[in-house]
């Protein structure tokens, strides 16, 4: 009887474990990354406790730091989601960076011409314009993949270069504000997203980001189109045999992906920079890949992964300032997280023990 009972508990535990398997692996990966990171800190002659407390303090220590973390999180949510959406149809969209630049540029320019509109029309409209610009940038690789079989990894990377440079070119040629910095004029007040906390740059964009997460989550769980896109990603020939047009689904998923990446740019322009500046991104589009990997391509997983990466980014600056530990270490920890996430077998073995 006792043995039976014990088995019952074990069974329940296995069930719970199965349910949260992905999250458990991700958290273990993060812990391991910090563990290895602490060894590196120690070997470099710094205090591990000091370093990590500075990191934590910098990311979450007070309201201002928290707002900074969240501000850094927002674009990562969008770019991470964009990559995850691509993955759902089996495509590896590395073009988030370029799609984001297009979104940012389109939004910045649109606000200048549409400033006469009332706020409640202007803001959604320029967001959509930014999204559509990103979407157009996602469409090209999707279309090339469907029509010619050109590999999306190659084409999206190329589209990044084109996107970043073409926005610079258009800016310099037509929209540059007078002065030494290559940037557009400030966007009108009415197009700026309201601040959540005074004197911080954390704006309503965070709600937009969470809203988009909810939409994407529902899209893939509940809608027919979401189902069809995922089926193509999971088993393309089964999808085709079932009469699903896989080419169309791939193009559509790249467009949705590009739309969301475009929003990353729009919200930066409308919430943080209030203008388009060349080379404004520290690589949000690329970090988005890591975010999607850590978030296991699940919309809510992307949220948590984006917060982690946002916190590392923000806390890292404090760590550098006060603990004098170079920012590079943060990059190493980010890399380690991905390394451990990408090696689930390693973690499985560790957990079995």
């Amino acid at each position: 009887m006792k043995r039976f009972w014990k088995q019952g508990i074990e069974f329940e535990m296995i069930k719970i474990f199965k349910k949260y398997e992905n999250s458990i692996y991700s958290f273990t990966a993060i812990l391991l990354a910090f563990l290895v990171g602490s060894i590196l800190i120690h070997l470099s002659g710094f205090s591990v406790i000091k370093a990590y407390s500075a990191l934590f303090d910098g990311a979450f220590g007070n309201v201002f730091n928290l707002t900074q973390t969240l501000m850094n999180t927002i674009p990562l949510i969008f770019t991470g989601l964009a990559v995850a959406i691509g993955f759902k149809s089996g495509l590896f969209n590395i073009g988030g960076e370029g799609q984001m630049y297009l979104g940012a540029f389109a939004t910045a320019i649109a606000t200048i011409y549409l400033s006469f509109l009332p706020v409640y029309i202007l803001i959604p409209l320029v967001l959509i314009i930014g999204g559509l610009a990103g979407s157009a940038w996602g469409f090209v690789p999707g279309y090339l993949k469907a029509k010619t079989g050109a590999h999306e990894v190659v084409t999206t990377i190329m589209m990044n270069y084109i996107g970043i440079l073409i926005t610079s070119y258009l800016l310099l040629k037509y929209f540059k504000e007078e002065g030494p910095i290559p940037q557009t004029a400030l966007i009108p007040e009415s197009a700026r997203l309201p601040e959540l906390v005074e004197y911080s740059r954390l704006t309503w964009a965070i709600f937009i980001a969470v809203f988009v997460i909810i939409i994407i989550d529902i899209f893939f769980k509940r809608t027919e189109l979401g189902y069809k896109i995922q089926t193509v990603g999971e088993n393309r020939s089964a999808a085709e045999y079932a009469g699903i047009n896989s080419n169309k689904m791939m193009v559509l998923s790249m467009m949705i992906s590009g739309f969301v990446a475009g929003l990353a740019g729009s919200t930066i322009v409308m919430g943080v920079l209030h203008r388009f500046i060349t080379n404004f991104s520290p690589g949000y589009g690329f970090t988005g890949i890591a975010v999607a990997v850590l978030g296991k391509n699940k919309p809510w997983g992307v949220l948590f992964a984006a917060i982690l990466f946002g916190a590392l980014q923000t806390g890292g600056i404090t760590m550098q300032l006060f603990a004098k530990i170079p920012m590079d270490l943060i990059v190493i920890i980010q890399g380690l997280v991905i390394l451990f996430v990408a090696a689930p077998i390693l973690i499985k073995k560790l957990l079995r023990k």
Partner: protein
């Protein structure tokens, strides 16, 4: 001598007991069949023997000495060799390169290809395993690939050869060749373990048979003391009808017509040539052929996944030659794909998502999937088609092969189709499920559906089809109502069946 002895082997996967106290003795120099349905634990047991799985309990004695086999490397060292169902060959390398890989004869640190070739040649001559020594794997037939697999194992000096369902991919003629090889290996002193779920083969080739069911050994018997009927009963645990009864039905209007369909490949090669098929209501037309003779391409042409070069396809009076797959399905085209796992199922999805696949728009309102309707419908399908599962939300991966197949068949037959394209509907499925699938196909015939049955199983074709076409190298070479087994086998192999030859093969098969 007992070359292998399993003593109360227990292997569990989570709660599932794959091997439940298995006791089994393999004698030196025998051909021993492990017979059982899919999921009976045959392959698991062999994977334990080969060091791929670790048993929870139990011991293995090799040559009457206890031994621990922790990995395949050790198993090979101990003289074990496994020929997998899915070949482990590298397409771009030559046969010789594939055989020696990992055990290359060296000369000054480089691979000594000359010596390798000689060695391979010698083994291949010894056992009459004819292969082209310098041909790339991608250019040789499936039967020849299997011979390469066998040579690979012999090259590693295996004494005990394990064959995992080796005939699943072979033509009837290739099966005969394989059996000759097995007998020769046996004569050469090798021990052979033969995993299968086919009764005929077991009767034909083995010295002794061990039947497994649900992870347990049911019985080990001498082949000469048993019969297919007895074996089937042990395997399934109940009486099985090996032949289905078919009533004569009246034929109705033409449902599907294929007119002069031709398909030319990328390199101007002829894949299908002037295919003409017409199927009436309530008729099962069999398309017999060894796989790789254009069936898959025909399947894809009919489904709409491949553009035909010329010719017409007509379904229920409408031409659908250039209609997309989705519309064809809407018009009452149902399709059980030949490789269900690859083309019919999404292995990462749960049962419900797999059951609505291809029919998802019937459950959509304003773009949203209606989960309640879906669940209800899926429950019905699962019940009606006896898909054994724990819940609707479990992954389709958890189902056994037979149940996966039943699920696809249930999905395709539940949409009230006009025409059913059933391609290899019982491939890799166990006896119990085969019976069930055959009965369902006949039920559809009774309901006046038109059915095209593409199959390589002679018995299946002969017992189900009203009329059989034989396809060979993309052409229909024969069409008749009644064939003998021998006749059909020969036609499938591309031979013109003259009466004399039929008589001859008939005798040979009987003598075997």
């Amino acid at each position: 001598m007992n070359i292998i002895e399993f003593k109360s082997i227990i292997k569990k996967f989570g709660d599932f007991i794959a091997n439940d106290k298995i006791d089994l003795i393999i004698k030196k120099g025998e051909i021993h069949c492990l017979l059982g349905e899919n999921g009976a634990g045959k392959t698991t047991l062999m994977n334990i023997l080969f060091g791929l799985y670790k048993p929870e309990e139990g011991k293995i004695f090799l040559r009457e000495k206890p031994c621990k086999i922790n990995n395949p490397h050790k198993a090979i060292e101990l003289g074990l060799g496994m020929i997998h169902q899915h070949f482990m060959l590298i397409d771009r390398l030559t046969t010789t390169e594939n055989i020696i890989v990992g055990e290359e004869p060296l000369k000054n640190g480089l691979v000594d290809m000359k010596k390798a070739r000689e060695q391979v040649k010698q083994i291949s001559d010894n056992y009459h395993l004819a292969i082209k020594i310098d041909e790339k794997i991608e250019n040789i037939s499936v039967g020849e690939q299997q011979r390469v697999e066998i040579l690979k194992v012999l090259f590693r000096k295996a004494e005990i050869l394990i064959f995992d369902e080796p005939t699943a991919v072979l033509t009837p003629q290739e099966v005969n060749n394989l059996f000759t090889t097995l007998r020769e290996l046996k004569a050469g002193g090798k021990t052979i373990i033969f995993i299968t779920h086919k009764l005929e083969e077991t009767m034909n080739i083995s010295d002794r048979v061990t039947v497994l069911r649900k992870g347990k050994v049911i019985s080990t018997v001498n082949t000469c003391d048993t019969s297919p009927k007895k074996l089937a009963r042990m395997m399934v645990g109940r009486e099985v009808l090996l032949n289905v009864n078919k009533e004569k039905g009246d034929l109705g209007d033409k449902v599907l017509e294929v007119k002069d369909l031709s398909l030319i490949g990328k390199h101007k090669n002829i894949i299908l040539k002037n295919i003409n098929i017409s199927i009436r209501k309530g008729e099962i037309v069999g398309l017999a052929g060894v796989s790789g003779n254009g069936q898959l391409e025909l399947e894809e042409c009919l489904t709409g996944l491949r553009k035909v070069t010329s010719g017409k396809i007509i379904l229920g009076g409408d031409e659908i030659t250039h209609t997309p797959t989705r519309i064809r399905r809407k018009k009452g085209f149902s399709h059980i794909p030949s490789d269900c796992l690859k083309r019919g199922l999404v292995s990462t999805y749960d049962l419900t998502k797999n059951i609505i696949l291809g029919n998802q728009d019937s459950f959509t309102k304003n773009g949203f999937l209606q989960q309640n309707d879906i669940n209800e419908y899926c429950k019905e399908v699962i019940e009606k088609f006896d898909v054994r599962c724990q819940s609707l939300n479990e992954s389709v991966n958890n189902l056994s092969g037979g149940n996966q197949q039943k699920l696809v068949i249930g999905r395709e037959l539940s949409t009230n189709p006009k025409f059913i394209l059933a391609a290899q509907p019982t491939r890799g499925v166990d006896v119990g499920a085969i019976e069930f699938i055959h009965n369902n196909i006949l039920k559809m015939r009774k309901q006046k559906k038109a059915i095209l049955l593409i199959s390589a199983e002679l018995e299946e074709l002969l017992s189900l089809a009203d009329r059989i076409l034989v396809i060979y190298e993309g052409k229909i070479v024969s069409e008749k109502n009644n064939y003998t087994k021998e006749e059909l086998g020969l036609l499938m192999a591309g031979k013109k069946a003259s009466d004399e030859e039929i008589l001859e093969t008939g005798n040979r098969i009987r003598n075997d």
